[in-house]
């Protein structure tokens, strides 16, 4: 008897529009290509120079010597900039029909009406729609695309852009610095509480291309925000690349929750970088669901720089056939009385591979800090792989640190218990898998939790024996 999980129904996500664009840069990565992207985007001089320096760093850095095999990634075959046939709009009616249809089917305009304070939608390399509730604009909240932010808020952008994630961090961050396009900029002024979430949705339609959106969020002192990020792409035969960058500044006393449902297609290499700098008495929460991609290397990071800063990471990865999801979390405790809580889960099935890779570093100055890490992996068949690779680096004595992990299949005893209570074996297994994912699902907004439960759709077959 085997538990069989359905492959995720990708019908909605796999809708392909014709590869129509206003401009598509030629494939490859050279200084000329970077100059051309910069010209197309009408960059100020400082940004053009920044891109060229990032390219130099990219050329010097090596590919990672650990993690999934990235040998099929050939930058000579990737177009790093695709400008869709649409300008930035503030009304859905003005968005071109085919693009609008895609976002309609993904449910974005509907969600905006019912449960969001603002929406940004990116199609290939450019943001095609952005809007936000009037009352938030009046309170001084800024939510716009990155290009507009570079032009209209140059000082704010210059002091924060790629300072949290410097281009020297790793090769794909340097690549991002050179070719970034699109993404969102959010500024929440001091003391302003944004009570319902803002959401950005990223859609990559063009084949053999990359998406390199930049998200920069500054939550000023005492302010709070919930930001949701969603992403998908139709499947093509050749690899697409996503190397976005998310920089989050959570100032003293502020709160930020950053939720992601990642459902890229199975030909996507998702090499994304996310980092938050958390100030005194501030809190940063990450909620992450990772379902798509062929290969994913994603390790959001919190740097707890202020006293009493806190962070929580709640994440689930679900790897099916042909997927290698190498995900995890990093936290650096850099001040007294800081705390971190990590709850990571993974499910692997049908030959998929899940790896939990992490770092907890408690520095010398982080006296009286606490860190608790828990990770659980569920194997649903004997052809899948699940690895747990956590690094714990403790550099002071005045800490409470604990880490625990477990790995295994669905317990026969638990199935037996549920069956003795009248459930069928199929229902018992379905209940166990949903229960396993529940701690993550309950952290998501309702519509995303429903989507996640749909993604984890159980089908059982065979007989007991």
């Amino acid at each position: 008897m085997k538990t069989k999980l359905e492959e995720i129904n990708r019908n909605i996500y796999d809708i392909k529009n014709k590869d129509e664009y206003e401009f598509k840069i030629k494939k490859g990565l050279t200084a000329e290509i970077i100059e051309e992207i910069s010209k197309q985007k009408n960059d100020p001089d400082w940004m053009r120079d920044f891109r060229l320096k990032a390219l130099e760093v990219y050329n010097k850095l090596e590919l990672p010597t650990w993690g999934p095999d990235l040998s099929e990634l050939n930058m000579e075959e990737i177009a790093t900039y695709v400008k869709p046939k649409s300008k930035l709009n503030s009304s859905w009616d003005d968005v071109p029909e085919d693009i609008k249809n895609t976002f309609d089917k993904l449910g974005i305009p509907e969600a905006e009406k019912t449960s969001l304070a603002g929406v940004g939608a990116q199609y290939d390399s450019e943001v095609v729609y952005h809007s936000m509730r009037e009352d938030l604009i009046k309170q001084g909240v800024i939510y716009t695309d990155m290009e507009t932010a570079v032009r209209e808020y140059p000082e704010l952008v210059k002091t924060h852009f790629m300072k949290c994630v410097p281009v020297s961090d790793h090769k794909f961050v340097a690549l991002h610095g050179a070719v970034w396009s699109g993404g969102s900029f959010v500024y929440v002024p001091k003391g302003v509480k944004v009570d319902i979430p803002l959401q950005s949705y990223f859609r990559l339609n063009s084949p053999e291309s990359g998406q390199f959106e930049h998200t920069l969020i500054i939550v000023d002192e005492g302010a709070s925000l919930h930001f949701i990020e969603g992403c998908s792409a139709p499947k093509y035969n050749k690899v697409n690349l996503h190397a976005g960058c998310v920089e989050l500044y959570v100032k003293d006393g502020a709160y930020l929750r950053y939720s992601t449902i990642e459902n890229w297609s199975k030909n996507m290499l998702n090499l994304n970088t996310k980092k938050a700098i958390v100030g005194k008495n501030a809190k940063m929460d990450w909620v992450s669901g990772s379902f798509g991609s062929k290969i994913s290397m994603l390790y959001p990071m919190s740097i707890l720089n202020g006293e009493n800063a806190k962070t929580e990471f709640t994440g689930i990865s679900f790897a099916g056939k042909g997927q290698n999801l190498d995900n995890g979390f990093k936290v650096v405790h850099n001040a007294q009385n800081t705390s971190s809580v990590v709850n990571a889960k993974s499910i692997s099935k049908n030959g998929g591979k899940c790896t939990y890779r992490s770092l907890v570093r408690i520095n010398e100055n982080a006296k009286n800090s606490k860190s608790s890490v828990s990770c659980e992996s569920l194997m649903l068949d004997d052809i899948s792989i699940s690895d747990t690779i956590p690094t714990n680096d403790i550099r002071t004595d005045d800490v409470e640190f604990s880490h625990e992990a477990k790995i295994g299949k669905i317990s026969d005893k638990t199935i037996f218990y549920l069956m003795s209570r009248g459930l069928s074996e199929e229902d018992a297994k379905a209940m166990i898998v949903r229960g396993f994912a529940h701690p993550i699902a309950k952290e998501l907004p309702v519509e995303y939790a429903v989507e996640m439960n749909n993604l984890i759709n159980l089908e059982l077959e065979g007989a007991i024996g």
């Binding site: 990672p64 010597t65 650990w66 993690g67 890779r357 770092l359 010398e364 006296k367 992996s377 194997m379 649903l380 068949d381 004997d382 899948s384 792989i385 699940s386 690895d387 747990t388 690779i389 956590p390 690094t391 714990n392 680096d393 403790i394 550099r395 002071t396 004595d397 005045d398 800490v399 409470e400 640190f401 604990s402 880490h403 625990e404 992990a405 477990k406 790995i407 295994g408 299949k409």
Partner: protein, 353 residues
């Protein structure tokens, strides 16, 4: 003099920024000529000990240079063949002194079917000298054997200790390994167990205790292949002053090891605010029907307990010693040789003075 570079690679790499994939020893002066080592004392049944060791074939080891040194220049070779059906103890003591500064030992233990034995291997520096030890211990625990190995490193903090261990554990065999790791400026251990047989069982218990600038690098790897095989790794340690420890523990469930179990628990007491503990407890799993758990913790000694003991009239240092020994006690209970246990307890007292 040979300069050592990278040692003790983990079976799976992680980000190099985490500084845990291997240990880099810079400007280490490795002795080029290995002189004779004769200060060895063996207590037990000598008839089962010869010098006829088999060829070394290590899957891991510390690095190529150190493995080759044992292969080609070992100054002590011992093969212990265990045939006893009742548990007998053999004690092998290597005593470093001014005449015996360098030991490169190749020890092979072959436990035949249904045999039982306890083998103690002790490394001790008797004088204020800078000694060097590089050794390989191989254990082949054949079907239904029950073997207890206790390795005790009581070298001083000027010396250096490099040790690679490789075990094969067959069907229904039990291998109980205890490592007491106290000495060495560098003490670097690679432990690799192959649990090939059905019901193969390996328990590894380690205590380490570091002070001054001591550096411990422990790389423990268990590969489970046999059905219902079991590995249990328990590591307890304490670090004082500027001592540093890297613990890398890998439980690797290979395809076919149905109903296997693996548990790993690592706990580090930090006795100073400049001591450093890095751990990488890995679980690798290619088999569905297994149970794998690991836990890791670090922190300072419980203040309330310390206060309680001190309120009963103990000085701080004495209270600290009591607490450290209490923490280590579960592992020390594996050592039935009272003389050795006393020696270890005395060393804990000395190191915590």
């Amino acid at each position: 003099m040979e300069k050592l570079q990278l040692l003790n690679e983990t079976p799976i790499r992680t980000s190099k920024n985490f500084n845990i994939n291997n240990i880099k020893i810079e400007n280490f002066e490795f002795p080029e000529t290995i002189k004779k080592f004769s200060n060895i004392n063996i207590i037990g049944d000598l008839s089962q000990i010869t010098q006829e060791v088999s060829l070394i074939d290590l899957k891991y080891g510390l690095n190529e240079y150190l493995t080759n040194q044992v292969k080609t220049r070992a100054n002590q070779k011992l093969k212990v063949v265990v045939d006893n059906k009742t548990n007998k103890e053999t004690k092998i003591e290597f005593n470093f002194d001014r005449e015996n500064l360098e030991l490169v030992d190749n020890i092979e233990i072959e436990a035949n079917e249904n045999s039982k034995a306890t083998i103690i291997i002790k490394y001790l520096t008797c004088e204020n000298i800078k000694a060097f030890h590089n050794g390989i211990i191989r254990v082949n625990a054949k079907q239904n054997s029950n073997i207890k190995i206790i390795v005790v490193n009581l070298m001083n903090n000027m010396s250096n200790n490099f040790l690679a261990i490789q075990n094969t554990v067959s069907k229904d065999a039990k291998l109980n390994y205890t490592i007491i790791d106290f000495g060495g400026k560098y003490s670097i251990t690679n432990y690799h167990s192959n649990l090939d047989g059905e019901n193969a069982d390996n328990r590894l218990n380690t205590i380490y205790l570091g002070k001054e600038t001591q550096c411990f690098d422990l790389n423990y790897i268990a590969e489970l292949r046999g059905e219902k095989s079991n590995i249990n790794i328990e590591v307890q340690g304490a670090l004082n002053d500027n001592a540093k420890k890297h613990f890398k523990g890998t439980i690797d469930f290979k395809k076919g090891c149905k109903k296997a179990k693996g548990n790993e628990n690592e706990s580090c007491m930090l006795l100073s605010n400049t001591a450093k503990s890095i751990s990488l407890p890995m679980l690798l799993c290619s088999e569905e029907e297994v149970e794998g758990n690991h836990s890791s913790s670090a922190g300072k000694i419980e203040e309330k307990e310390l206060f309680y003991i001190m309120s009963r009239g103990f000085e701080f240092k004495e209270a600290l010693k009591l607490m450290v020994k209490a923490k280590f006690n579960k592992i020390l209970e594996n050592i039935k040789n009272e003389e050795l246990k006393t020696e270890i307890l005395q060393e804990i007292d000395t190191k915590l003075n």
